[in-house]
Symmetry: C2
Subunit: 148 residues, 2 copies
Amino acid sequence: MTTASQRDPSVDEAAIRALIESIDRGLHRKDLAAITAPYAKDALIFDLAPPLSHRIDAGELGAWLDSWEGPVERESRDLDITVGGDLAFCTGFFRVSATPRAGGHAAWWMRATLCLQRDGGDWRIVHEHTSVPFRMDGSFQAAVDLEP
Amino acid sequence: MTTASQRDPSVDEAAIRALIESIDRGLHRKDLAAITAPYAKDALIFDLAPPLSHRIDAGELGAWLDSWEGPVERESRDLDITVGGDLAFCTGFFRVSATPRAGGHAAWWMRATLCLQRDGGDWRIVHEHTSVPFRMDGSFQAAVDLEP
């Protein structure tokens, strides 16, 4: 048995980075099973869209994927992963880029916070918070044009 | 010495809850030192306002406090705290309510994710992500009227 103190955090960081990249590839392929596999079944999601919170929902995610023509591209920047024992959190930025079925093209950067728990041998995302800030000039417009 | 396995997570949860309440009281009193004390010096903040991210900044926070007439009230709901070893994360909702110097009244619910690390005997917030979602109806309006 490997105890917490014997574990090498860089191994866990690499595993979590690989997990995030597996979601990126799943989004590109629109492979719902690949996208949802790294999440705990009842993962708490604070999403770009209302409501304030929901539990992960494959049906809703599938409908979202279907709203895009072709692949959904996601890249990460400045991922910072902190591991301690059986918990981890990750902060950074995601750029999503895709073509709406309605036409045009959409691309935006968002901040992302992921909270993970070790479940047996695997890391699982138990919470995901993605957002953009909004303008404080009275317009209350979501700032989807910011870059990290 | 108390090892990680001997620690009672409920003690840590209570400490983190007390830390959050100390910020609430600090906001009420507009006591900048009390508000910032529980944060790590270089805490990474994903805030309601642009930019996408910044480090905690007492000067900016002081200017924000000054933009309100009288106390800034903050209450929490559904705080869920997960502790493992020297890491913790907390999810939930904050309601902020205050009177702008410019007149009127402002109140909104937001989602909050806090990531904490044990620093010696104390917990410190190393990352805070607060946000509201935005409307996906083409208006890109921040949804400041949602309730948890």
